[in-house]
Amino acid sequence: MNEFAQAYLVPDGTDLQGIKDAFEGRYSVTEDEPHELIRRFYDTFDWSLYQAGTVLEELSDGSQRELIWRDLHGEAPKLAWNTDRNPGFAADLPQIPEIDRLASLVGIRRLLPLLDVHTRLISWRLLNEDGKTVARLEVEQNRYVDKGRERQGPVSVLLRLHGVKGYDDELQATARLLQEGLNLSLARAELLQEALAAAGRRPLDYSSQLDFRLDPQRRADATAKEILLHLLNTIEVNIPGTRANQDSEFLHDLRVAVRRTRSALTQIKDVFAADLVEQYKESFGWMGEFTGPVRDLDVYLLDFNAYQASLPETLRPHLEPLRDFIHAHYGAEQKALVAHLDSKRFRDLLRDWRAFLEAPVPEQSVVPNAMRPVKAVADERIWTMYKRVRKEGRAITPDSPPEDMHELRKSCKKLRYLIEFFDSLYPKQEVRQLVKLMKVLLDNLGNFQDLAVQADHLRDMAQRMREESHASTDTLLTMGVLVGHLLEHQHRAREEFAQIFATFDSEGHQALFTALFGPSKPRRKGA
């Protein structure tokens, strides 16, 4: 029946009777009982559904709740199901065909309510001389309710025109009448977008990806503040979700922003006073520390099923006590984390840091790089760090101690962050290629180090489980098998290193690094 739907904006204060009267002489109009419905829109915190051009809405009319996943601006659902529970994690979604498409967008994040739209729906049918319905109109009077921010207010009135199959002429005539006769304009925005705008919210206002557009000529100190301020915003915006532990990505993103902050502070060298850098380097180090324990447990829980699947089937059940152990300790660690987030030290730190970042840079600065154009500083810093990575990497032989690998990893991370901070100053294509290259190298180094750390950590947990007499012999042995697997993987990472580094250090890649960041040739322009 609804072959086609077109939405029109009805200006504030328009008399609905006037619209109805406009059909007089052509169609008679019957009005169905008005009814109320509530739409609740869901997305992950980082807008993964919206980013993919889709909308997930829960429609409830008092008697039942239906979840509908559809394209933005689209009417037809990609998926729809009745439910009596809130969508949460991907694993909570119903097992219906094609749900994987939705689940893979959601990933490991939780679907959270964005806001509600309360609708009073008035339906009109346009009847021809036979009393046959030839088109339907739905007037939607909408209000948004943003529970999280305790706000509500009106959203524009929409008039939706639905055609009836086989009555195209009537549909066209009605559309003309609405547009030309009544001067209604098509609603370009989706209801969700209208409601978000009315609520003063912007879609896609959060992403864990960095996306700076820097001015190469701007002062380095001012640019560093811009970068750090963005990172501070990311830290702050992730605090509520971390406190409530809505999903593990809040804490993860918060920690990444903290690491990036330390890196920016220390690697964009000589733009701020040295004692200030020292002070905040330490403060953000503290943040990295107190957020660590919960993250470690999160990593175990996220990987748990994969760990379990890597074991022979008969051993798998013996790993369950480990999961219980993690859950049992999770609460206490989370509580400690929240206490830190609520502490005066933490609040003062963020407040003072913000005050510093938001203050204008001094007109004159004696710090060597502060007043130089950022592009020059970026070139130098990236080039220096690149050379260090190259040197450290080339020095590694099959017999080098793990510490050398760890050092290289640290340098690589610094280099990667630097490139990511400043990528807008360089040709997009090439920079993207280098970041990908760094990622491969970092994954390898990360596996080498993290798997060893995890194996150690597992050993610690086994010890504690024994002390708390949580663990049977079978469980301890199974954890031993897991430790074995981890070390095997770690060993493999070590073996693969030479090959991966050689690729990173190929002549072509060397040339690319040099071309992008290397010291300028004599024909240097400007300056």
Binding site: M1, E3, D130, K132, T133
Partner: protein, 253 residues
């Protein structure tokens, strides 16, 4: 997609009432349903308030000049569409005859509708003709409403003979049932007890005579859309529909 024809050689036995009301019930339970009014008189089309007109008439339709889907009209009921009657259907036999395989044209035309519909109901004109032979070949079930009279028993015999006498029609899923039953009439009661004995596929469900059915012409909509759900005649149609679905689901030997 299952195709269900409402057919009888005789007129005025309740074919149209059956097709319209069953199609409505089918759509109401969520099946995507189409009803094709094959009768040039267009009674079913009238019940749905649609104009009895098909672009280009029978010839354009049978020649495949239009997609069948382009000729379909949405009814006022969700999930229920109608392919209207056209006065030119009265010459459908002649148009069918012009084709290479004149008895399989309807089947061919309907095949592409399988993606859009779960059930298709054919409301047939009263006669035995090339159109009806096309209907027999296309249908998964041939509903035959019968008023319990001696004469109607004879028409069922005739139909049976016709089916057996034509290649590939012996296996048609014949589903006769009693229509417009008046329980005060002894003859009706008597025939209802005896006739099904000689027809093993005779349906148990029957539709009583009820003046509510006649009001379909005034209300111009399917009966269950204007009588309360508890109405016994609605119940009778629901029972009939349930039995037909069960019959369609059964594997046939």
């Amino acid at each position: 997609m299952k195709i269900i024809a409402s057919y009888n050689i005789k007129g005025g036995v309740g074919k149209t009432a059956t097709a319209v009301n069953l199609a409505y019930l089918s759509a109401r339970e969520g099946n995507r349903t189409l009803i094709w009014d094959l009768d040039p008189q267009g009674a079913a089309t009238y019940y749905f308030r649609v104009k009895p007109k098909v672009k280009g008439g029978t010839r354009a339709l049978v020649s495949g000049h239009h997609d069948l889907d382009d000729l379909v009209k949405g009814t006022d009921f969700e999930g229920l569409d109608l392919l209207p009657a056209d006065f030119s259907y009265r010459n459908m036999d002649l148009v069918l005859e012009d084709n290479k395989r004149p008895t399989k044209q309807l089947q061919k035309l309907l095949a592409p509708m399988a993606i859009a519909y779960d059930y298709v109901f054919l409301d047939c004109p009263p006669s035995i003709s090339l159109v009806s032979e096309n209907v027999f070949r296309a249908s998964h079930a041939l509903l035959v409403p019968m008023i319990p009279t001696t004469l109607s028993a004879r028409t069922l015999d005739q139909l049976q003979e016709f089916l057996e006498g034509h290649d590939g029609l012996g296996k048609v899923n014949l589903m006769p049932f009693f229509s417009m039953v008046d329980r005060r009439k002894h003859l009706h009661i008597h025939l209802m007890e005896t006739l099904p004995e000689s027809f093993p596929t005779f349906l148990q469900a029957s539709i009583p005579y009820a003046s509510d059915v006649e009001r379909m012409g005034l209300n111009r909509m399917p009966l269950p859309a204007y009588v309360p759900p508890s109405n016994p005649i609605t119940k009778a149609y629901e029972a009939l529909w349930a039995e037909i679905k069960a019959g369609l689901a059964k594997p046939r030997g």
